[in-house]
Symmetry: C2
Subunit: 575 residues, 2 copies
């Protein structure tokens, strides 16, 4: 059976115990939601003694189902002040699962500033002081940990931004072989990890004796195979494999929803220079890599390795969100500049979305010009060195806007809006406002609705966002990547089959939806008690007042419709 | 009848109209509360188009009752995100009242950055561009306005901090003769004024033809005389006249509730150097002034003029809150240093309480040492010049704490705690948490309870805070200074007599309490809709966890008791 590891950072004491029958039903984001509601006072200080950093594996994490190496990392967010789950690929998650660990719950605060490593292995877990890691960049930290622990361990770590408790800080997770640095970027969880005195968590699954109890191996294998096959033959997968997430950039731009110059436009005149095709061509011409996995066993393999003109890795993976926020949103249209900015964010350990938005706000304030790539890089470097200006930017777009008296600040619930302007795809606006996660596209991305509905019409957006939020929450609870959605749309019953295969639970589609909704409902309860309901954090006013060129829509979905969207919701079908 | 002036800063258009019968019953803080709830979306951006800056006179402002020159200034606070009323003395309020104006409501935002003067006089009101005032310090602004408008006008203005929209900015109001600069300091209302493009409001009552309709002149005069006489013969008044608000410093220190070194102690080893007696002795020895009024017709006259060693004015008036926050809280025990810090805050136009707390937090972060007076002065100067660090500090203690990763941040609802540590006088903790105003002693100061109850016992604090909040709200609604309370304690019916004298309303004590509660209730409704209920903003965790030396109490009044304190409240008696 699966176990939970609890780490008391004050007493420097670790306990382990088997999950209860109730906890067994909580996976990934759902596990985080329940622990938050059960154990963390919703009105507590996010970087105080009462908050907890929770690393939780999805319900299918210890199976061989594709993409299930995703880790859910969460806690009360310093940025949104609500429940937060940030999902990350990389190599560590699968190793946590192989150790039979459902979750690691990190509690309390050390009595004095610490730079610790949490070692987790088959013998147990322990805090180890590592002052030599203090202040290191993410790559430096990974290198130091490799020197100490070898190539096979999994790593979660923070950069200097997390150590400084900057609210834009994320948690890095390299993949196997360290080709890529993935980030649990959103919500300032790097600051939460930093507050616990933790520089890194090292997962060594070498001597594990855990074997996942598969209730129905035949059903499990069959459904797992179906998923891999269905993904491999799905046209979206091929597109993602070839072009990665930047595949959508051209459409985002032509649809007029791509954040440009601090969300003052939805299309960027240099979009052709930074779109998916250009990225692929550039990478191939320079002998970089495309079609790379971020977790072991992923059949989609949407990642890339962006290299500079002499073929040296700049950043991996270069993704749509980061390109828009660090690129078009800052008026920067050069891929090498954008890749380097992304790399710098990864090194100092800040969310590239939040940081790109913050730089856009700083440009709006006149600190530097839109398009000033060298100036932007300097700002990110300053985050890492902790100058006053760097600390401002590193705390994200909302704080940067406050400090510099900027009125056009693209945040909802204190968190920067990602690469889909709510005026250009209104379903995303609904998600940003109503989701428990604040402005987070992964909580229910309506980009796909471009192909089947009028994304500028305020009608119907609440309904579609609700459906998308349920789907997103389900995947985050099972531990699947969001990109596995397409095949399930025709066979939603296969979610239940996977759970039956692993646990023996016989779940109807309705019960699967209820499992997903349970996560959302639990987070909503936490958020309401924390004081961050949607009705208190509406659309930024400039997005209600200023039409977004070139489509010239404002965001106009009524708050009453949004704030009541879950009232009387009865789990039914996934579609 | 009294009128309302509305200023549309976008259309640069002014309208005036008579108050309705309903509005006639709204005074000062109550007027602000009702306009906020009626006209301002509670979840709006505080510095956006939908918020309003409201300048409102109390119900007795156009009478000759002592202290009624106080102005209530309010709006949705950028700092607390809730309803805000900040009360200020000075010369302008009485002139507003003499013009027959109950309130000035300033709406919307200019389409481009403006530096305007709002001229208000017997002919009407108008916005006048005044780019020459841009960036001027408060004294410079006042001098420029005197040169243009003469010595007899009333002035409200902001310093550079308000122009920069820093959330710690206040609104200055010189008294007649400009001896003193009073501040509507709390809640960041200077930023709200700055957002409207307003550098100053100039009140010229020279040609007024308004005569307040006094319903019962005899009763009015009689009760007014009683109040003045009763105040003059009350021992507290004499004490306040001799020593001003610093009169309480020695007791605050010996009681162990005086904020010291970022709220790490409740008593300061240099208290003797900065207490009321020392201040009086110093001022008299240097030929400064004590016993000065801040509004015309005040019989208490608690203000002083603190001068330097050669008799030149440093600041007027030097008050308890500012001495503790800029002094003991920063480990600074020299009166000249504190007075200069206070003067600098007044010049750049920031709340000295918020700024003192922010400097204390910066000292805790290690930016400068506790006791470094020159370093502290440099910080305040940097606020005025808008350096990155200055902008951080100028946004207050909460933001400063976030930027520098400080855990011990003495704020409630985003606003700095004033000169009474909640652990040392628990009634104040209850007020800070439950009042609509955030951490604001003027919303119900329990300092007086030192003389009649155990201020360290968690029992009974909610009851006393409720009583004090009702009293404070009543005075803010009538437009009386908080210091007129003592005589009313024996004759609470005289509140009703004053209102009957002015308006002919026959109000029982219960109805007077209901009038006060109506203000609180209205603000609470606004705050709840804005998402800033007390249960989301509890005591800072360090005050629940760290005993405060020397009395070593923690703040332990249960939240359930506080959050339910107005449930089923029935207005009854004032005591």
């Amino acid at each position: 059976m699966e176990k939970i590891v609890r780490v008391d950072t004050r007493k420097r004491h670790v306990t382990q115990y088997q999950v209860t029958e109730e906890e067994l039903h909580w996976g990934g984001r759902g596990f985080i939601a329940h622990v938050l509601l059960r154990e963390v006072p919703p009105n507590c200080e996010a970087l105080g003694r009462r908050n907890k950093l929770i690393i939780a594996m999805g319900l299918l994490a210890d199976t061989n189902v594709t993409t299930t190496g995703q880790t859910s990392i969460g806690g009360k967010s310093p940025l949104t002040r609500g429940a937060k789950e940030s999902n990350v690929g990389g190599g560590a998650g699968k190793k946590v699962a192989r150790l039979g660990i459902r979750a690691i719950i990190i509690e309390d605060l050390p009595t004095k500033p610490q730079t610790d490593i949490l070692e987790v292995d088959a013998r147990g877990a322990r805090l180890v002081e590592a002052p030599e890691l203090k202040g290191l960049l993410v790559d430096e930290t990974v290198a130091a940990l490799r020197a100490k622990y070898g190539k096979k361990v999994g790593i979660y770590c923070i950069g200097p931004a997390g150590e400084m408790l900057l609210h834009g800080a994320g948690i890095a997770c390299p993949n196997d072989g360290d080709e890529q640095i993935r980030f649990a970027g959103r919500g300032g969880l790097g600051a939460l990890m930093g507050s616990k005195g933790l520089k890194a968590i090292v997962i060594d699954d070498a001597d594990t004796t855990y074997k996942a109890p598969i209730a129905n191996p035949e059903l499990m294998n069959e459904t797992s195979k179906w998923l891999s096959q269905a993904l491999l033959t799905h046209p979206k997968t091929e597109n993602r494999n070839l072009f990665g997430t930047p595949a959508i950039l051209a459409l985002a731009n032509s649809s007029g929803l791509m954040p440009t110059r601090n969300f003052s436009s939805g299309s960027f005149e240099l979009a052709d220079k930074i779109n998916g095709e250009t990225i692929r061509d550039t990478i191939l011409a320079r002998h970089g890599k495309t079609g790379r996995p971020c977790v072991a066993g992923c059949v989609i393999q949407c990642s890339n390795v962006f290299v500079n003109q002499v073929g040296y890795k700049t950043v991996a993976s270069l993704q749509y969100e980061n390109i828009t926020l660090l690129g078009s949103n800052c008026g920067i249209g050069d891929l090498d500049d954008i890749a380097e900015l992304n790399h710098l964010c990864n090194q100092v350990g800040v969310d590239a979305i939040e940081t790109g938005a913050a730089i856009g706000v700083a440009m709006e304030a006149g600190l530097l010009a839109f398009g000033d790539a060298e100036g932007a890089k300097d700002l990110v470097r300053q985050i890492g060195t902790g100058t006053h200006l760097g600390r401002i930017l590193g705390n994200g777009a909302a704080l940067t806007g406050q400090v510099f008296g900027v009125r056009r600040v693209p945040v909802i619930k204190g968190q920067a809006i990602p690469g889909y302007d709510p005026r250009g795809v209104k379903g995303n606006g609904v998600t940003y406002i109503t989701s428990t996660m604040g402005a987070d596209h992964t909580a229910g991305n309506a980009f796909e609705t471009l192909s089947y509905m009028n994304v500028l019409d305020k009608q119907g957006q609440v309904d579609i966002s609700r459906t998308l939020q349920i789907r997103a929450s389900l995947l985050d609870t099972l531990g699947l990547c969001l990109f596995v959605r397409p095949p399930f749309l025709k066979k939603p019953e296969n979610f239940g089959k996977l759970l039956e295969g692993r646990y023996g639970w016989k779940m109807s589609e309705r019960e699967v939806v209820a499992l997903s909704f349970d996560t959302i409902k639990t987070e909503r309860e936490f958020n309401q008690r924390a004081g961050v309901s949607e009705k208190h954090f509406p659309i930024p006013e400039f997005m209600a007042d200023e039409p977004l060129p070139p489509k010239n829509a404002v965001f106009d979905v009524p708050m009453e419709e949004m704030s009541s969207m879950w009232d009387g919701f009865v789990p039914d079908k996934l579609l």
